[in-house]
Symmetry: C2
């Protein structure tokens, strides 16, 4: 199968809404021109309002989307960006090394979609941070506010109760998100909107501890496997199930041209690790890396529209020997590349030394920093060690430099960390990095379950999300073992949506529990279809149900396969409630009984 032929065909990607729901767009009252996407789940009980949920699927999630991958997606941001009067630029020409010198049959053609390329000028406001500090509320901020509110125009009735119920460890989650609140969070660096001015297809989103917890999914080919068609479909597949951002970690040939297909067809922020491509350009030898090839790569990718870059500028020469006694040394690819570079020539990292210049480049396009944790622990034994924390302190120092330069920043975090050491990571990150958003990989809470590391890490992710991490980088079942396939990507995303939602509930996010409550009411009422449709993965829920009780009649039966009709606790409870008069009279008495210490044992016979 030719990779390019699949890319030309809309049928090559998954489209249509998740079963039992439909894509809707809502506009904030103040901005009728903005179309903010949601997914709406209609319920079978007329007394139950439809449930609107956050949706990351982009136009692919519409019922009959008109999608031509060669033209790319619509460009909702074009009008907003045009108003900001940036200079059109010619752009850096593509060079043979950008695609690993692939030629002929082996060269993937670039996505033919054409966009006006732009760059900010010195002194011109470009980044969301610069606008926020100037008191300007951008379209992106308004959009994000409406999205975070799930299109509510006011706080949910009992939001104060809900918030009081949670424990947010010092976060300041509001009952209702206003555009001004978004601006303020960005201005102080506590949140970012990763949104390259050359990524016009983007549906903006925010990453910050006072917003809903986000999830990143990684895609990317590597030297040993994968092709371009799979990568675009992986993007579409990952956002279908709820990935808020996607990192393209491709290495190998055709890296530039594959990325062009991804970006022109991505409604979510795309992140990359530029050092990977820089290394490809120098034939894979870390010692041949230098500032010029790295700088060239930054510009190349920024012009394409990449929204955030992982930059491992905290791996300083002096920290490398601190990893000597570790059980698993350095496990970050970027970290190990830079460590090798530093140590071979006994040189300070050029990423660290040129950090000012990196900021200047990224600011021109509003590429956000994701300051990489190149020295993150790769095993329980290495968690929270001196190397890891030394780097984190440097990332805190670099955060302030980037902020001074007007750049948006988030900070990457571990890795492998046992439960009792997770909170120390969060607390130190908040302290060192001035509350810049934390973006963690898991963490994995044990090393002993390869094949199940979505679970070992989902535990840590839920906890650190509760403690304050703003975005969770997913881990798939294939972590440590192989490259994730389609099912692995889905499993990874769903697992991390669970972790993120559990964190939102625990933090007391005002709207988080609406969906849990709607699903639990459906469960208690035996509205099976509603229960499936409200779940994160209706297809799997329905299939599991049908595996035991396939008959349609069972989907309206007032019992289920777990207990059968005689032992159905919910059915028995319903019978209990029928005696409503008895219950109403007794409820108050029962409370009195309990309050008066009635639970005192009276021996039988007395």
């Amino acid at each position: 199968m030719s990779t390019t032929s699949l890319i030309k065909s809309p049928s090559g990607v998954s489209t249509g809404p998740i079963g039992g729901s439909r894509k809707v767009y809502a506009s904030p009252r103040s901005h009728s021109e903005l179309r903010v996407p949601f997914r709406e789940i209609a319920l079978s009980d007329p007394a139950e309002p439809p449930v609107r949920v956050y949706d990351t699927s982009g136009p692919y999630g519409e019922a009959d989307p008109v999608i031509d991958l060669r033209l790319g997606l619509d460009t909702p941001r074009e009008a907003w960006i045009r108003k900001r009067s940036y200079s059109a630029i010619a752009g850096r020409p593509t060079r043979p090394e950008d695609n690993g010198h692939a030629t002929g049959e082996r060269l993937v053609e670039p996505c033919p979609a054409r966009r006006t390329l732009r760059a900010g000028a010195p002194g011109q406001r470009v980044t969301q941070l610069e606008f926020a500090r100037a008191g300007i509320i951008t379209e992106e901020m308004v959009y994000v506010a409406h999205r975070e509110n799930l299109a509510r125009e006011e706080a949910v009735a009992d939001a104060a109760d809900r918030l009081g119920d949670g424990e947010s460890f010092g976060a300041a989650i509001p009952a209702f998100v206003t555009p001004e609140f978004v601006r303020d969070e960005i201005a102080c660096g506590r949140a970012i909107i990763p949104a390259n001015i050359n990524h016009l297809e983007l549906e903006p989103m925010a990453i910050g501890r006072n917003f809903l917890v986000k999830v990143n999914a990684n895609i990317g080919n590597s030297a040993v496997s994968s092709g371009v068609a799979e990568e675009v479909e992986k993007l579409v597949w990952a956002i279908r199930w709820g990935a808020d951002t996607v990192m393209d970690l491709s290495t190998g040939r055709n890296i530039h041209n594959i990325r062009s297909w991804i970006l022109r067809n991505a409604p979510v922020p795309i992140g990359t690790v530029p050092i990977y491509q820089a290394l490809e350009k120098v034939g894979g030898d870390p010692l041949k890396l230098d500032w010029e090839v790295f700088k060239d790569t930054l510009i190349e990718q920024a012009e394409q529209g990449v929204d955030y870059f992982t930059i491992h500028a905290g791996v300083r020469l002096a920290y490398v020997p601190l990893t000597a006694d570790r059980v698993t040394g350095i496990v970050s690819r970027g970290g190990s590349i830079m460590a090798r570079w530093c140590l071979a020539g006994h040189r300070e990292s050029f990423l660290y030394e040129r950090f000012d210049e990196i900021c200047d480049i990224m600011r021109r396009y509003d590429v956000s920093f994701s300051l990489g944790d190149g020295l993150r622990p790769g095993s329980i034994a290495d968690a929270n060690d001196v190397a890891q924390f030394a780097e984190l302190e440097t990332l805190g120092e670099l955060t302030k430099v980037a902020w001074d330069k007007g750049c948006q920043v988030m900070i990457e975090g571990p890795g492998h960390v046992p439960m009792h050491k997770i909170k120390a990571n969060m607390d130190k990150q908040l302290r060192e990095c001035g509350e810049a958003p934390f973006y963690t990989l898991g963490p994995l809470t044990t090393d002993i379950a390869p094949g199940y590391d979505h679970i070992t890490s989902g535990i840590g992710a839920a906890m650190i999300g509760w403690f304050g991490t703003a975005m969770l980088c997913y881990v798939t079942p294939k972590e440590h073992l192989g490259l994730p396939d389609r099912e692995d990507v889905k499993t990874g995303v769903i697992t991390y949506r669970i972790a993120a939602h559990a964190a939102d509930l625990a933090k007391g996010h005002p709207a988080a529990r609406l969906r849990d409550d709607a699903l639990s009411r459906a469960r208690f009422d035996f509205r099976w279809e509603d229960q499936f449709n409200l779940s994160l993965d209706p297809d799997t829920a329905r299939a599991y149900h049908d595996a035991t009780l396939p008959k349609d009649a069972h989907k309206v039966a007032h019992f289920c396969s777990m207990c059968g009709p005689k032992f159905c606790s919910m059915q028995i409870t319903r019978e209990l409630r029928r005696d409503a008069a008895a219950l109403q009279g007794m409820a108050e008495k029962s409370r009195e009984f309990v309050a008066s210490g009635g639970a005192i044992y009276v021996p039988a016979g007395d």
Copy 2:
């Protein structure tokens, strides 16, 4: 397929060790007659000692076990129990209602294995608690100590460091478990050894917060599905992957006879919920239940050798109305049955009123209590409500009654609880129930992911295990949707082994990290086979690896499919380490540099 014919055949159950390991038996120096089971994983690096892990698989895990399900397993406890001089009893004859009046073709034959039936007399010591209080160390206690130590004869070298590293929230985990420590923990009610004197096939184990965290798996047929052959294999399959105890939640016909097959072939403690069978005996109508039928069922099951009973004696009449405003009412089967019984006649629960008599029966056989949480929350909305906590207070009161009667006790816990409300459950349980072991179902940390509730609950299970829960009741992917099949049982058990192990690490269990460290060293050394074999599920780890890199050569390659050879961080780190001289000289300097606040940004060009 006839269910009975499969049961006759040893080939009907899974035997043999998990790949890459072998079953071994070790004896404590002081008791050469005890054969305590472990699994030993030999590693390919001669410098790496074999890793011994806790093993629950029983004789089934041996390489070529001689197993005849009709004869039952060997009876290691026969000699110990015989010494204790209990009276042989005739036993209650089986009655038609014990098997739901099944006859002819529909009647499953009972397991023909014959054992001497015994019961303790008044004043005679029977329970492990009674022995412990009398200062007597039983064989079960010695066995358990050796098992908890993973057959170590002394503390691991750096156990003190390991313990200092963890956070156990007031537990008192020793560096090394002595038989006397086990006795003391049981004497004060902080641990139990569920071990009916009629369950001679049992390999004893302990449940308590100062021991390794345990996992329970549920099996059982129900009115709508399943048969006897599947149930025995489910037991064997569940313990193969690490279930420490198994609850038989069967309802429907043949319940007595199926249980006879399970018990005679179970090396792990078996728990039941007697009210289920009692309800079957009265034709499924809760209102027809009474003390006599329940008492009869207790004796019937105790004589068979059931090790612990879930008794929902905390569902008092006065608490039932407290559930009236809940989103999901009462979700415990036993709880709803008793609630219906109480409310229909406005009567106090006979389980509560006859609790003394229940204790007297259970003591005679040393059946442990698992005091059921019939009012546990079934949704996030209902967590930690007044009904749940009122019942928990009553369970605390009943714990003390049972202890006074000489019975061992653990306490069941929720359920559905968001992360920020989990610790309150643990703290209240410890306080109300005098540190009796807590045994929780999950808890599930969100309601929105049916199909993935092993994960929503694995998060909560790891956390509450860390906080002090002694045993975690597994949840499978089919929870809320259908009956688990073979793969679901395995997934549920592995997920809960992850949660339990993550908890052991976080609590600072002295030996827990040995396996993580051995696996991480194997990973760093690219000893792929060792990595697979050390994992909780070698089959899945190997299969996932082979899906991307099937060639055998890749299993010794110094890179893997995730990054390929050029981007392999571990390979690069190894190259770094080759320059050992440079590293050694620098490591000390680096520490000085970090200590002196060296991480101060120096702008490029200065």
